[in-house]
Subunit: 438 residues, 2 copies
């Protein structure tokens, strides 16, 4: 081992992922060095607190993470602090000091990535972020390298384990959203404030990164359409199943003629599609390339060591690339930034997909014809219908429809018109449907 080039790591943050990274690097040191051809060692840890899972003896510990970013012995700063304020400062300081950076911080990359990569490019340092999306699944490497021959047509993923855990509980145990959320909190899968997970913000952070890598567009977090699972009704879960679908909270990015769709929302997908079988806290991303066809990548999307697996893979990549000319490095966002595409991210009104609609209709002849006629006037056809028998004492019955593919703007306009019908009570509930051809 004496001939291996030393690569010195400074870890900032020793929480769940920091602790996992420390332990994986330590436990698998011999194997990692043999694979990487480098002698990768942790020379400093910056953390205000200790982590009982880690044996820090023999490692320099400081409570000032900026000391790590300034340490002349450190080659690679591993940012595992989280958040977008101090972490942003830390990453910029590390870059300014000529350090390479590895981070697991999806919010940071999604919101400040363009600026970070520009700073890194100027200082000719690497910034790696495999762990920012889907934990241990090497989806960043897959999009940047493994599928590099492909024009990516679309990708769709379960990229938030908390949301998928809740949806699985709703589907398989018929539990209400609120109950499933409480359970997820009790098991440590959901934060005390679950907004980021449940409202799809966390998924949107990840999706904006994937979309940029897939389509060569700049990171545009503010353009992502995001709809959470908090308002999802158990009866829609049941009706979807009756129609042969399951509901998953998907992040979807698709290149179409006039732009790119980038959206996170509850989605009906065929029950027999592989991604429909991805349950609990697991993540999976389908990617459709023009050459490779449909692919899927599955694994743990969070957790100490699954995330550490991705962090350490990045460290190995950075260590290896230290022996390369800068032009040999994989571009931060898969394409040369000088060549970003100006393809616009489409507003949700311009998205085209199929829809699931549910409304409460008076149980009398002719209502269905009225609804179908409104849809038809806007070029929307109905592919399947479930009409339930009235329950005793009820005038209205649930009417459920699947439409063909339509522009969301048209669909919403039609829904508003349907709501105006005397025979329709209340709102028309709409959910999007994707067929995800294998």
């Amino acid at each position: 081992m004496t001939s291996l080039k030393k690569v010195n790591i400074g870890i900032c943050g020793l929480g769940t992922v920091g602790g996992g990274t420390f332990n994986v690097l330590t436990r698998n040191a011999e194997l990692i060095n043999s694979r990487s051809g480098s002698d990768i060692r942790i020379v400093q840890v910056g953390s205000r607190r200790t982590n009982p899972a880690c044996d820090l003896s023999g490692v320099g510990v400081t409570d000032d993470i900026f000391e790590v970013a300034a340490n002349p012995d450190v080659d690679v700063v591993v940012e595992l602090v989280g958040g977008t304020s101090i972490a942003f400062e830390l990453v910029l300081a590390a870059i300014e000091n000529g350090k390479h950076v590895v981070t697991a911080n999806k919010a940071l990359i999604a919101q400040h990535g363009n600026e970070i990569f520009e700073a890194a490019h100027k200082k000719s340092v690497m910034v790696a972020f495999e762990a920012a999306v889907a934990g241990g699944i090497p989806i960043i490497k897959t999009l940047r390298e493994g599928l590099g021959a492909n024009r990516i047509e679309w990708l769709a993923g379960i990229i938030n384990g908390t949301g998928n855990y809740i949806l699985t509980a709703m589907e398989e145990q018929g539990r209400k959203f609120e109950d499933a959320l409480e359970e997820a909190k009790a098991l440590g899968y959901a934060e005390a404030d679950p907004t980021f997970d449940v409202e799809g913000i966390d998924a949107a952070h990840k999706l904006v990164i994937l979309a940029s890598l897939a389509f060569g567009i700049p990171l545009q977090f503010d353009k992502v359409f995001t709809e959470g699972i908090g308002k999802l009704d158990l009866q829609d879960v049941a009706y979807a199943r009756e129609l042969g679908f399951r509901i998953k909270h998907l992040g979807i990015a698709r290149q179409v003629g006039k732009g790119v769709e980038v959206r996170v929302h509850p989605t009906l997908i065929p029950a027999n599609s592989l991604v429909a079988e991805v349950d609990g806290v697991m993540n999976a991303i389908m990617v459709k390339g023009d050459a490779v066809g449909p692919t899927m990548f599955y694994g743990a999307g969070a957790g100490d060591e699954p995330t550490a697996s991705a962090v350490v893979a990045d460290i190995i990549d950075v260590a290896r690339a230290l022996n390369c000319a800068p032009e040999a490095r994989v571009p931060y966002l898969a394409f040369n930034t000088a060549e970003f595409s100006d393809t616009p991210v489409l507003p949700i009104e311009d998205v085209e997909t199929a829809y699931y609609l549910r409304m409460r209709a008076l149980d009398r002849p002719g209502v269905l014809t009225q609804v179908a006629s409104i849809m038809s006037d806007r070029g929307i056809s109905i592919e399947a219908i479930i009409q339930k028998r009235p329950q005793s004492g009820q005038d209205h019955v649930p009417l459920i429809m699947l439409t063909n593919k339509a522009r969301e703007g048209e669909l919403m306009a039609a829904a508003r018109d349907v709501e105006k019908l005397d025979a329709i009570d209340g709102d028309v509930i709409h959910l999007r449907v994707e067929y995800l051809d294998r």
Copy 2:
């Protein structure tokens, strides 16, 4: 684009994969160059026949593939000739001439990889072979890089699409092996001589490569245990389903205390496991790492452009690494060859797994006790039993059992003893069971 470094490609072989590679490189040239940072161009094609799917105008074509390997303008020789004789000569000639090599040839790597990598190491050239395993799924990159932080515990994959197509037809349509095979031939999924696919030899070629990458052992094709699907009985497919399993032709590699298991055989897996849902000609590989946990990678395992996707990804990697010091390259077999592990590949007798057993037993009291007693004497316990009622006029009934985990040597010895019982008619059929924890 004028500033991009030129990388000149010579393609040898213009069949299915050669044609696909030519077309993907041509169609996606702009995108590939933007991702790779190189100007990758095909300067020569070596093929005795033309391919109607390819527009070869403007490309030098020779009918002598060795001319490509000797062409001073060619940087990277892409071997898509197939087979292990001329392809082997071609690859050695290309290496001798200082060319980097990209190949899709699983048989060549499995059988001659050790020699090829040694020759390549001497000449300091790269040999890339992503397309040799599971077509467009970037599983080689995943094992060598994406999961590089992990000690791999096991991997299990559907790595032969033909076999999986036949098994799916047997499972879902209740078709006999022979009928399903004929259909696969008619659809072009099976060769006229299907031996390689059906007997598991093709899967064994791929598995030996995966095992080497996962565990750091040399390629040892002669040590792989291989059992085909040709003798699989429809009644076992049905009983397996009754017990909550599906049967897949899996390649399995597992690190255990005393060695490595490397085996291809029909395998019962839980019907609710994700890999059980992989149907038709698709491939999928599960990999369990100590840090990342269980993962799965799914996609097309064959076909012109899916395979080309992997070939071109390798070309991009090689183009990039031309700007790196040789020590920065990913090692051929994931680990430094100087550090190959001498962990032995275990003979099948030493493999430990659970078993499905089927026998024909006289329908009289006490038989089950006799069988259970023989098993128990060898430390094998029975976890589940199905005993069918006798059909009219039949003395014997099918008796089906699931055992706990046992050494195969013990299991087979017990089966031989059971066969000697008066009450048992004919052989004890055994199939292996894997639980593949998610």
